[in-house]
């Protein structure tokens, strides 16, 4: 881990252990444009186009910037079936060094998920873990802070800006404004979009990614204590009232008072 910011790049290349060992967690989820269908009482993803979860793209970008600034390696880790290899290849094309898939196709509760991820992080000897602020399928945002707790690391969540100096300096929204927080490694950083501009892959990266090997590992999660009972469509909202013309704004204001009791 690089703790001396003034250290030159060439020196760092000689002293291997100053390199930062960076992990980034990525997840495959339905493309945000996709329609979700239910078969029986479960979501049916068989005909849905899958993609990297949107916030994970910011996590990958921050991980790559960390490497650009400090030197080191970036390993992308996902948990999923073989279909998730596509997401790993996608981030490989962006410049990630290693791609690892924890092979598991099915539901894990947060306890199971975090315990297999935390053990992978701890055996990989990582200094810092980046992840998206939440996955687009569950929307939970539990994985980053949960892993950090299991590892005994600090965590910062929903960051909108990051600087790689003296450990890390991150910006995260707080009540009434933004908190600028300094973070010592090891740490888990969950990423929001903020002003992050993500890099695009080029032809060379895509060619390299095609040839890259996904390292596949098996996992055995602890027994689940949360089980899915059903997945259903949200109840259809009763049709609303639609008015033509600007003058109806007065009617709507009145309805907000009389019918909705809001104002």
């Amino acid at each position: 881990m690089n703790t001396n910011v003034h250290q030159s790049n060439s020196l760092r290349l000689l002293v291997g252990d100053t390199m930062v060992n960076i992990a980034v967690l990525v997840k495959q989820v339905p493309d945000s444009n996709s329609k979700i269908q239910i078969t029986g009482d479960r979501v049916d993803l068989s005909s849905v186009k899958m993609d990297i979860s949107p916030y994970d793209e910011f996590a990958v970008e921050n991980a790559l910037q960390h490497k650009d600034s400090s030197g080191g390696t970036v390993t992308a880790i996902t948990l999923g079936g073989s279909g998730a290899d596509k997401v790993l290849k996608g981030v490989k094309a962006l410049g990630v060094d290693n791609i690892v898939r924890l092979d598991y196709d099915g539901f894990m509760d947060s306890n199971g998920l975090q315990s297999v991820l935390a053990s992978e992080i701890s055996s990989g000897g990582y200094d810092v873990v980046y992840c998206g602020k939440s996955a687009a399928d569950t929307g939970a945002g539990s994985t980053g802070p949960g892993i950090a707790e299991r590892l005994g690391w600090c965590s910062v969540s929903n960051i909108i800006d990051i600087k790689f100096e003296n450990g890390l300096t991150v910006t995260s929204p707080a009540e009434g404004g933004n908190a600028i927080i300094s973070v010592n490694l090891p740490a888990v950083v969950s990423c929001d979009k903020g002003a992050t501009k993500v890099r695009k892959s080029n032809v060379k990266g895509i060619m390299m990614a095609k040839k890259a090997q996904v390292e596949v590992k098996s996992v055995s999660p602890p027994a689940a204590s949360v089980t899915i009972v059903s997945q259903v469509m949200p109840p259809a909202k009763p049709a609303g009232k639609k008015f033509e013309g600007a003058a109806s704004a007065e009617t709507v204001a009145q309805l907000l008072r009389d019918e909705a009791n809001i104002i």
């Binding site: 399928d137 600090c154 979009k193 469509m233 600007a246």
Partner: protein
């Protein structure tokens, strides 16, 4: 039935009204509710003493609660909380805390709960950005975060003693600086009423028309991604949707927003939705309780003056 623990939600250093909703949810999940109030100054916990349905209040007193640091908060709250099902709000910060608390106890966390079955065993949360609802069953204690504006608030006719317990945690991050928001205006994630503008606003200066109405209603101003991406003056912190904020206000007013699936992902669970759009076929109208087919240039002044009349 499990015992329950509610972690009080704070806002501006005081117990926020959502806490009453959390107590209702907790009593649906189990019994013997302990309310834990994270605080520097235990006096703030006295505000909770009248919440009905609480059997005990613990003012968890510690310097760590002056700024949010997930690790130390989880440690300090874990130390004073009995075992059982822990209930927090589903605000951004409390979801983060919920996850750490659960991991600390090696139990699972269920986030964003919007429904609890009558027998307290089945919990329902939106998944796939609200495109589906998932119900789960717990077979052991868990930490459960609960969305605002869903459970009816417990009333304030109770009386519980406040027990002050000193606690602490190892602070692992350092707050260097709080950059206060320039405007006094609420953030979309804190507001009960939101008025958002999209690309149809034409230019960022026109957001002043939304601000004028927001000021009348005590609302926050939000935006679509098209607005945020197109105009530098509209910061990402205002963005509602899949890659912005998920909001759950009582009233969401969408102005010049088409209603793309990724925008809906962030606001479809709002209690009431009003849409103002000049295109009668805009998808947003399928989700609006009240739709106004008109340009905002014509509709907003009328809405504004009608609100002034009603609000007196």
């Amino acid at each position: 039935m499990s015992d329950t623990i509610v972690i009080a939600e704070l806002s501006k250093g005081k117990i926020s009204a959502i806490t009453n909703e959390l107590v209702t949810a907790a009593n649906q999940l189990g019994s013997n509710c302990t309310l834990v109030v994270p605080c520097n100054d235990s006096a703030i916990a006295n505000d909770a003493s009248s919440i009905s349905g609480v059997s005990k209040i613990i003012a968890a007193k510690s310097g760590v609660f002056s700024n949010y640091d997930a690790a130390s908060w989880a440690e300090a709250l874990d130390a004073v909380s009995p075992s059982g099902i822990i209930v927090t709000s589903a605000s951004t910060q409390s979801k983060d805390l919920a996850a750490r608390l659960a991991a600390r106890r090696t139990i699972s966390v269920v986030q964003d709960v919007v429904e609890i079955s009558n027998d307290g065993t089945v919990l329902t949360s939106p998944v796939y950005s609200g495109k589906a609802l998932q119900s789960v069953k717990l077979s052991s204690d868990a930490v459960v975060s609960v969305r605002a504006n869903v459970f009816s608030p417990a009333d304030n006719s109770g009386s519980s003693e406040v027990q002050v317990i000193d606690t602490s945690g190892n602070v692992t991050t350092a707050l260097k600086e709080m950059v206060q928001r320039a405007s006094e205006r609420l953030d979309v994630s804190e507001a009960n009423i939101i008025i958002s503008g999209g690309r149809g606003m034409g230019n960022p200066g026109n957001f002043s028309h939304l601000e004028e109405i927001a000021d009348k209603l005590g609302a926050a101003v939000g935006a679509s991604r098209a607005a945020v991406d197109t105009w530098d003056e509209i910061p990402h912190s205002m963005q509602v949707g899949q890659t912005g904020k998920t909001v759950n206000p009582n009233l969401y007013i969408a102005v010049g927003i088409s209603g793309a699936i990724q925008h809906l992902a962030g606001m479809r669970s709002s209690k009431y939705i009003v849409a103002i759009n000049k295109d009668a076929d805009a998808p947003i109208f399928q989700h609006a309780d009240y739709g106004i087919v008109a340009t905002w240039e014509e509709a907003l002044p009328i809405l504004s003056s009608s609100l002034s009349n009603l609000l007196g």
